[in-house]
Point group: D2
Chain length 275, copies 4
C-alpha cells in the first residue's frame, strides 16, 4: 500500500542497477491482496481482537484506495454506518457514489466507535484526535507500517496502557476513558488476521512469473528501470486460479477477435485499463 | 465502451493529423458514465420498457467491464440471481470474487429470464442461442452499437415481430414462444433511460478541459498522437463535483506531503493507478 | 399500510355483520406487495418522474415498516446515504442494525436531497419542514393516502406551483427555491410506477383463496370477526408461485416430520412466526 | 431455534404447572440473537476455525429462518455464491426474492465448498451426502443441538478423523478426500465464535423483564399457559438499547396518535405484526 515506492525513487535517481518488476501494482496483486483480502481481514481482525458487533456501529475509514474500499464494503454490508476521509478528489467522489459520507476526521471524531486507517500516510490520527475519541472506541491500522496512527504520542506519563490480551491494549486517560488500540498501530491484517492461501497463491505465482520473465527475457528487453508486469502474465495468473471457482471462460471466435483487433489468447485490455 | 478506438488506429497508422485527448478513458468518465451511471440505467431501462420485477429473476450479463460491473451490482442488490460471461480471465476472477458464477452463455441460456450484453463485441448472442431462450425472456444491449445481439438473424420469415410499445418488440417463434427484444438491440441506456445531469456535467467538464488544455498547451507538449487526460485535470473535474455531495476533502500537511513525496495539490496517484 | 384497519374497528364496536379475512396482513401480501414490491417501485417511481441519480444522494425515509425497509434497502444498494425516522423503538433498532442512522426529521431536513414518507400517519412532513428543505430537493409519499405530506399547507398564495410534467410539480418559494413534489403527495408507487404482474398474482390468489375459504367454511368456523388467513393457505399461495423461479422445495421425511412435530404438508410455523 | 418448544408441549398436555413467558419468540430476541447476531458469527466462526476466504466460494445454507437469513446475507455480501434449501414455501419464496436459488441439497452437494445447517431439524445432511462432498469442503451447524448433520454416521471404521486444531476435525475418506467438520456438528456460533455483549444485554434484559412481569402480575392475569412477552415490554427493551447507537426516536403528536388510534407511548403495533 505504501506510497513512496523505493524502486521508483532509485530508478529516478539513476541508482537502480538491475531491471525490476513492480509486482505490487499488477492487477491481480492489487485487487486480491488489497481489495478482496482486506474486505475479509478487517472483519476477521476486529472480531478476533475485540468481539465487537458491527451492526449499528459508526466507523470512519481514512483512505478510499483498494484497502479502504474493501473495508468500507465489508462493514457497510454488515450494518455499520461508515464515513470516509480522503485527500484525493477522485477517490472521494467514488466514496460518494458508493454511499459513504466524505468528511474530515475532526467532524466525526467524537461520535465514531471505530477508526480504521488505510492511507499509506503518517500521523493520520493524531494525539489531539485520540484525546477526543469516545470511551470504548477502537482504533486500528490497515494501511502500512505503524505510522498512520501517532502511537508514539500515546506513550506519555498521564496515559496508562493496559494489555488486555495479545495485540489489544487499552489506553486509559486520566478521566478513565479507554481507547482500544489494536496491534500497537501496526497492520491489523497481518497481526490479527490471516492471509488466505488463495491470495498467497496469487501473489506467489505473480512473483515467480515476474522472476522467470526477468531471467528469460532476451538481452535488451528490460533496462535498469521499474516495469509493470506484462499484462499477459497478469492474465495468465488469473486464468490459473479460475478453476478454483469452477469458472468457465468464453473464447473469442476468429471473427470476434478480428472485430476487436485482439489476439484470441490475449492480452485483452490496453495497458491503461483500470479493471 | 467500444473496443477498437479509432484514434489509436489512426495514430498507429501515422494518419492522425492533430493531437487528440482520449477523454473516454479518463477516470471520471469511465467510472461515472459507465460504472455508476449504468448501475442505475439498467434498472431504469428495464422498468420503463417491461415493468419486469427483478427479485428472483435469473439474469446473465455478458461482459464484466465497467458497464457489466454496474449492471451486476444493481441487479444483485435487487434480488436477481446473476451469471457472468467473460473472455478476460482477470475480469472473470473479479466476477468470482464479487459473488457471480462465471459461465458460458450456453450453460444458462435455457434458464435465464434476462440477457444483457455489455461487451463491445459483436454476435455475443447468436440466433442459435435466441432460439433456445425461454418464453417471455428479455434480451437487451448495454454495450455499444447494435451488433452485440445478432438482431439481423431474427429478421427471417418464420419469426413474427410485434411492436408492443415504443422500443419494445416481441419476437414470436412458430411455436408461440416470445422473446422480448428491447430497442431493437441498440443501447438500452441511451434509448430507454436517461443520463443524469450530474453525469453529463462530469463528461462535459472533462471534454471542455481537454479542449482547453490542447488549445493552451505550449508548442511541442502534444504531438500527433493520442493522450490520456492529465491526471491533475481528472482530479480537478472530480473536485468540482464534490460540493454536490457536501463532501469535505482532507488536506495534506506539509509534513505528510513530504513523507508521501506528493505535491499538496496533487496529482495524488501514479499514472498506472486503477482506482 | 394503513394503521387504523376499519374492519378491526367495526369488529371491536360489534358492528361487523359478516366474517372477514384480513388478507392485507397475510405473509405473502405483506412481504411481496409491501417489502419486495416497494423495494423496486421506489426506484422506478423516482426515475420516471425526476431522472434523479441515486448515487451519493442523501435521503431520509420516514417509517421503517415493510415499505420503509424496502425503500431503504434499494436506495442504500444504489449508493444513497439513507437516514430513517421512527416512532417505534423496535423498528428503530432494526434500522440501526441494518446500517441506517435513526434521526428526527428536523436534524437532517436542511441537508437531504429526497424525503420519502412510509408511515401510514398524517402530517409527517409539515409546512415548517418543507420551508427548510434545500432547493431542488424531492418529496414523495410511499405510505398511504395523501396525508403524510401536508400538501394542503403548500397551497398558499406566496408559493407558486409549476406543473413540469405529469405527476411532477415544482413548488416555488418567494426566494426562488424549488421543492419537487411527486404525485401531489399521493402514493408514488401507484401513481408513478407499476405493480409487477407477479405481485398482482400473489395478491389476487390470496384474495380469491380467502373468499373461497369463507364461502366453503362449515357453519360456525368463522364468527362476525376479523381473521388472519389460515397459515396453510398462505403457504399454498407461496408454493403456487415457486415454479416461477424454478425453486425446488425440500420435503420432510416421516422421521423428520415426527421429530419436528409437524405435518409433512404444513403448516410449518406457529402462528406468531414473523418470517 | 428449536422447533419443538417443550413448554408448548407441556401446556398442550395440561402439564404446565406455572405460567411461562416465551421470551425466545419476543421480537428483540428473535431478530437480535438470531438474525443480526448470526449474520456476524457465521463469518467469525468460519474464519477462526478455517481461515477460509469467502469470495467466490459456493455455499449452501439449509433453512431460511432468521438464522439462515443472517448467514445468507453475510456470505452474499462478502462475495460467496449462496444456495438455499427450504421445506416451507413462504421462506423459500423469500429466499428467491432475496436473490438465492432454492435447491434440494442433492442438486448442489457435489459443487459446494461449504454447507451450513440452520434448520432446527435432524439429519439434514446425511452420510450419503457427506460421501459426495468435494475434497476440502467444510460442513458446520448454526441451527440447534448436534443432530442437523448426521455426525454419528461418520464414526465408522473406514473413515479416519484427524483433529487439526480445537473444534476442527478432518474426516478422511479411504480415497484421501477430506471433509472439514466444525465443532463436531455442534453449534458453530456458540463453540467457535462469541456472543457480543450488546446481544447478551438485549437477551438478559428481556428475560429479567419477563420474570418481573410474571412476579408482579395481578392474580389471574396469567394462567398455567405459555405467553409471548407483552409488546410494550419488547418495545421497552428496544428503547433501552437505542442510546448505544445515538438513535433519536420521533414522538407522535397528540393529533397523530389520535389519527392512528395509538397511545403515544405504545404499543405501536398489533400483536400479529411481523417486523
Amino acid at each position: 500500500v505504501g506510497s513512496r515506492p523505493l524502486l521508483y525513487q532509485l530508478s529516478k535517481a539513476g541508482k537502480l542497477c538491475v531491471p525490476a518488476m513492480n509486482v505490487n501494482d499488477s492487477v491481480t496483486k492489487q485487487k486480491f491482496d488489497n481489495l478482496y483480502c482486506c474486505r475479509e481481514s478487517i472483519l476477521d481482525g476486529l472480531k478476533r481482537t475485540t468481539d465487537v458487533m458491527f451492526g449499528g456501529k459508526q466507523v470512519v475509514i481514512c483512505g478510499y484506495g483498494e484497502v479502504g474500499k474493501g473495508c468500507c464494503a465489508a462493514l457497510k454490508a454488515l450494518g455499520a454506518i461508515v464515513y470516509v476521509t480522503e485527500i484525493d478528489p477522485i477517490c472521494a467522489l467514488q466514496a460518494c457514489m458508493d454511499g459513504f459520507r466524505v468528511v474530515k476526521l475532526n467532524e466525526v471524531i467524537r461520535q465514531v466507535d471505530i477508526i480504521i486507517t488505510c492511507t499509506g500516510n503518517k500521523n493520520v490520527v493524531t494525539r489531539d484526535q485520540l484525546d477526543r475519541m469516545k470511551n470504548g472506541s477502537i482504533v486500528c491500522n490497515m494501511g502500512h507500517s505503524n505510522t498512520e496512527i501517532d502511537v508514539a504520542s500515546l506513550r506519555t506519563p498521564e496515559l496508562t496502557w493496559e494489555r488486555v490480551r495479545s495485540q489489544v491494549d487499552h489506553v486509559i486517560w486520566p478521566d478513565g476513558k479507554r481507547v482500544i488500540l489494536l496491534a500497537e498501530g501496526r497492520l491489523l491484517n497481518l497481526s490479527c488476521s490471516t492471509v488466505p492461501t488463495f491470495v498467497l497463491s496469487i501473489t506467489a505465482t505473480t512473483q515467480a512469473l515476474a522472476l522467470i520473465e526477468l531471467y528469460n527475457a532476451p538481452e535488451g528487453r528490460y533496462k535498469q528501470d521499474v516495469y509493470l508486469l506484462p499484462k499477459k502474465m497478469d492474465e495468465y495468473v488469473a486464468s490459473l486460479h479460475l478453476t478454483t471457482f469452477d469458472a468457465h471462460l468464453t473464447e473469442l471466435t476468429d471473427d470476434q477477435a478480428k472485430y476487436l483487433g485482439l489476439n484470441k489468447n490475449g492480452p485483452f485490455k490496453p495497458n491503461y485499463y483500470r479493471y
